[in-house]
């Protein structure tokens, strides 16, 4: 599988993501910089977590307007798989590639802990490594992960199976509506999620529940 990781100043889980992609696909991903206007042909583009541009405006708002994001949007429109994790999810929302918004956590505090996720739709390119409704462990680490969408959007997301990950067993850490932790685009090729599967892929992490996401992607595009 060929992948590319988008690098923006202030992102800080890029190294975690690059390590996960390298370990699981066997190939280090390409990297693209904020000012790049073209992205080479790859099977997967990942926008990792962090605090792009300090998140000094709304989280992801500045990043969404950088040249590289136009290139990401073009690729997404042509069906390339795009995954945004944490700040990456926020950026995808700000770029209009996914619907809804991520607000400040209900606790108003940054939260780093392990939660349970239900794989609400195992029939996507990103979740085919899981079984339907499987409950997995996954860490979160964010200040603004409180997903919200208006009633109409929400009904559509739920109705079309676009909700892919849901906080399970009462572990919603941020107040997200319908316990939403991750969603896909209508076309199914753009995923945004708040939790960090890249931080739970080997025994050193204390678990490997995040691995199947990457393995599913590798298997699909191998």
């Amino acid at each position: 599988m060929k992948s590319a990781v988008v690098l923006l100043p202030g992102l800080n889980r890029d190294r975690d993501m690059i390590a996960a992609l390298t370990k699981i696909s066997g190939k280090p991903p390409l990297t693209v910089w904020q000012t790049d206007t073209e992205i080479p042909d790859v099977d997967l583009i990942v926008i990792p977590g962090g605090f792009s541009y300090g998140d000094y405006l709304r989280c992801g708002a500045i990043a969404a307007r950088m040249p590289v994001m136009r290139a990401v949007a073009e690729k997404a429109a042509r069906g390339t798989l795009v995954m945004g994790v944490c700040n990456g999810f926020q950026i995808l929302l700000e770029a209009g590639l996914l619907p809804g918004a991520l607000m400040r956590n209900a606790s108003l505090k940054f939260v780093c802990r392990e939660v349970k996720l239900e794989v609400a739709n195992a029939n996507t390119a990103f979740t085919r490594g899981y079984s339907p409704n499987q409950i997995i462990r996954c860490p979160v680490a964010h200040h603004d992960g409180n997903y919200f969408a208006d009633a109409e959007t929400l009904a559509r997301l739920e109705g079309e199976g676009q909700v892919v990950f849901r906080y399970a067993e009462g572990t919603n850490p941020n107040g997200s509506i319908n316990d939403i932790a991750g969603i896909v685009s209508e076309g199914g090729n753009v995923l945004g999620l708040m939790p960090h599967p890249e931080n739970l892929i080997e025994s050193a992490h204390g678990g490997t529940d995040g691995r199947a996401l990457f393995e599913g992607l590798v298997g699909k595009a191998a």
Binding site: A20, G50, Y53, G54, D55, F110, R113
Partner: protein, 744 residues
């Protein structure tokens, strides 16, 4: 327009710069004329306690700083220790006490920023952070505000920068009501052949300013941090800097990229006393003069004076001496990261520190003397009075189960979950043990088996009762916490927080604590490689508890043989190693006496350093051989609290048999030092277990089997069994309840 630099130097102006009359006389003698206003500012920045260590230097020299693994001891931005395979660990701890009390969020945030910068200035990528925090009593009207602000500030900076926070401490005591302590630790990993230093080399080379622009924030911060507080403290708010973790993250990446390019000759971050301290240090260390042209300095405010620019403590700035042929390449790297890059001066051969502003020379001082000739004091000190020991029969009773639950729910022993969940503990994907155990553990990126352990320790109430034993204990406990994970303790950074050194009784605490720390570091081969002294932690004459925080780093060869505090399985045998026959004996200064009986008398537990080393080395061996399945040292709250923590961490209970004829309170709540609870996956009646006990006897390691793991409750001797749920409710409940949050 020209900005004035000719203010008359009056005694009041000198005093407001924190300089004593005899110190000012020393300046006059040194330069043989009256200093300009800017020069006075430069002297005050270089000669304050924070930068010059004038009260502490004499005693700091007595500390052991060498060892076979030590690459760089104190005197640089951070200490450097060899960890093999061409890698080294670079670390330091530094206080940001005064600013954090005035403005908790920014004070703590910039404390984290400053210590991270110290580490990456040396060429290391930061891999772990810790924070040792001390606050006033919970009921004090300011405490909640300080806790909330400091924790948010640490998280706000560290999380955005992208370093995992893997350990720390939080304590409460009325003696910190007027001065909280924020001691920030950071460690990074570098290649031993790519460490960068502040010593400039070569005449006529460009001095380059990098990073964020200079503003008026933090002007005089270091001088502020060298004075006591009074009720006018709020007026000092403008001396606190404002942090920008985004710029710092960019600065990290740009610096590491620049270092890899081979352009950097010398580098120094701008911390306390900003441009002044960094320029003087680079020149003085390299036996070179420095000339600065302030018109070239990137500024974010208009009409800044030379004085303000020289004393600004704006964050996220660096000064470097670069190879001239690499200048363009260097500039391109900094532009890519959106950072300022400006040549602001050059190195000279005349050993003068010259500052130009708007075509005028505003300072011209002997560069070596600014550092070397700083006053040094042998301050008078008095031997602290040793507290009388408790009488042999002075053992106030309490219901064991009730007492344990009360201790678990006490401000000092309750779970710190509420705090560290606000820190990113997992970023970088290398965290093997996060806060809540004996030490934080981070694997060495790119190495299949190696990991580093980190712990921060001191027991201020012990130091107050007996600074010498307290100093020893701080080092021993840190060494023990690292050992309890299976790590070989490597070296220490010390952050010495005390009151006003001009008071002989405070100086006495300082001197004795240093002696204790030195003795322990020597006995445990645990040298000090970096550190920081924070004095004048007093408000209206009330000093803090003496708090010499010890930050230790240990090396784990193979993390697949690493110990954790949680019980590993049901039915395992529990041993206590290093304890007397009675299991525990010392109640003076114990948390039990303070929390349950309101007593703070008596001496702290003595530390037998020979015993400490022997037991620790043995326990480490058990872990590395894979014999020990769980390990936890006994510290605050004694054996009872240690067992409760092991049970709560695992969800597995235990049944403990106490030795017949011994006092239960002393056994369970005594705070005797040098003890470890260890579990083994052996039947107590098995031959292997007997062989283990025989081996321990032969080696002279005091050991007793005290019980077995299993069930969902903790049963201590004849006391009422307590369910893990009840312990957890007590333990987890206090902090969120206190901070007005829900348990989550």
């Amino acid at each position: 327009m020209n900005i004035r630099n000719d203010f008359p130097i009056t005694p009041e102006l000198v005093a407001s710069h924190g300089l004593k009359p005899d110190e000012y006389q020393r300046i006059l003698d040194l330069i043989e004329r009256e200093p300009t206003f800017t020069e006075l500012g430069i002297f005050s920045a270089m000669w304050n306690e924070h930068c010059s260590y004038k009260s502490s230097k004499k005693w700091l020299r007595t500390l052991p700083t060498k060892g076979p693994r030590i690459i760089q001891g104190p005197g640089e931005n951070a200490g450097v220790v060899d960890i093999g395979d061409g890698d080294c660990v670079v670390f330091k701890m530094e206080s940001h006490n005064h600013p954090s009390y005035i403005e908790p969020y920014q004070g703590a945030a910039t404390g984290v920023g400053g210590i991270l910068r110290d580490v990456f200035t040396m060429g290391a990528r930061p891999v772990a952070a810790m924070n040792a925090l001390r606050f006033g009593e919970p009921d004090h009207p300011k405490t909640r505000h300080l806790v909330a602000g400091v924790v948010a500030g640490i998280g706000g900076y560290g999380n955005s920068f992208g370093v995992p926070t893997v350990g720390g401490e939080v304590n409460f005591d009325a003696r910190y009501n007027g001065n909280c302590l924020v001691n920030a630790f950071a460690a990074g990993i570098a290649k031993t052949d790519a460490i960068f230093y502040s010593k400039a080399e070569g005449v006529g080379l460009p001095v380059v300013y990098l990073g964020a622009k200079t503003g008026r924030d933090g002007v005089g911060g270091a001088t502020m941090a060298s004075a006591e507080f009074d009720e006018k403290i709020e007026e000092k708010r403008p001396t606190v800097q404002v942090g920008d973790p985004f710029t710092e993250k960019c600065l990290l990446e740009a610096c590491l990229e620049l270092m890899a390019s081979g352009a950097v000759i010398a580098i120094q971050d701008m911390g306390a006393a900003g441009l002044t301290c960094s320029a003087v240090e680079m020149g003085a260390k390299g036996d070179l003069g420095i000339e600065l042209d302030l018109d070239k300095v990137p500024v974010r405010e208009e009409r800044m004076t030379a004085y303000e620019m020289m004393l600004s403590e704006s964050q996220e700035r660096m000064l470097m001496v670069l190879r001239p042929e690499k200048e363009a390449e260097a500039e391109a790297i900094f532009r890519k990261w959106g950072l300022d890059f400006a040549i602001v001066g050059r190195t000279t051969d005349d050993l003068r520190f010259r500052v130009l502003h708007q075509g005028k020379e505003v300072a011209n001082l002997p560069i070596k003397d600014l550092g070397d000739q700083a006053p040094e004091y042998d301050r008078p000190w008095v031997e602290p009075k040793a507290p009388a020991p408790l009488a042999d029969d002075d053992v106030p009773e309490a219901d064991t189960a009730d007492a344990l639950l009360a201790l678990l729910a006490s401000p000092d022993l309750s779970s710190r979950h509420w705090v560290w969940e606000q820190y990113d503990t997992l970023i970088q994907g290398n965290s093997l043990q996060i806060p809540g155990g004996d030490a934080g553990v981070v694997r060495v990126d790119g190495h299949p088996a190696k990991a580093l352990a980190f712990s921060s320790d001191v027991t201020p109430r012990y130091c107050e009762a007996d600074p010498f034993e307290g100093g020893k204990q701080a080092v021993a406990e840190c060494w023990r916490n690292l050992t309890a994970t299976g790590a070989e303790p490597l070296a220490v950074t010390d952050n010495l927080n005390f009151g006003n050194p001009e008071r002989p009784e405070i100086m006495g605490q300082f001197v004795k604590a240093i002696q204790g720390i030195g003795d322990a570091c020597r006995a445990l081969d645990f040298p000090i490689v970096s550190g920081n002294v924070s004095l004048y932690n007093e408000t209206n004459g009330q000093a803090i508890l003496p708090t010499p925080t010890i930050g230790g780093v240990g090396l784990i060869d193979d993390w697949s043989h690493m110990a954790r505090i949680r019980f590993a399985a049901e039915g395992e045998t529990i041993l206590i190693l290093g304890a007397p026959k009675s299991l525990g004996s010392h109640l003076g200064q114990s948390v039990y006496m303070r929390e349950i009986h309101g007593r703070t008398d008596g001496p702290p537990p003595p530390v037998d350093l020979v015993h400490e080393r022997k037991i620790g080395d043995y326990v480490r061996g058990l872990i590395r051989k894979g014999v020990a399945t769980a390990v936890h040292d006994c510290s605050d709250g004694g054996l009872a609290v240690a067992l409760a923590e092991m049970a709560m961490a695992s969800g597995i209970g235990a049944k403990i048999d106490l030795p017949a004829g011994e006092d239960v309170t002393r056994a369970l709540f005594g705070e005797d030092q040098g003890r470890y609870v260890v579990t083994v996956a052996l039947d107590p009646d098995s031959d292997e277990c007997k062989a283990l006990l025989e081996e321990q006897e032969k080696l002279g390691i005091p050991a007793s089997i005290i019980g077995r793991t299993g069930g969902r409750e903790l049963k201590l001797g004849q006391a009422r069994a307590i369910s893990i749920e009840d312990m957890k409710a007590a333990h987890e409940g206090w902090f969120p309840g206190y901070m007005g949050a829900e348990i989550g």
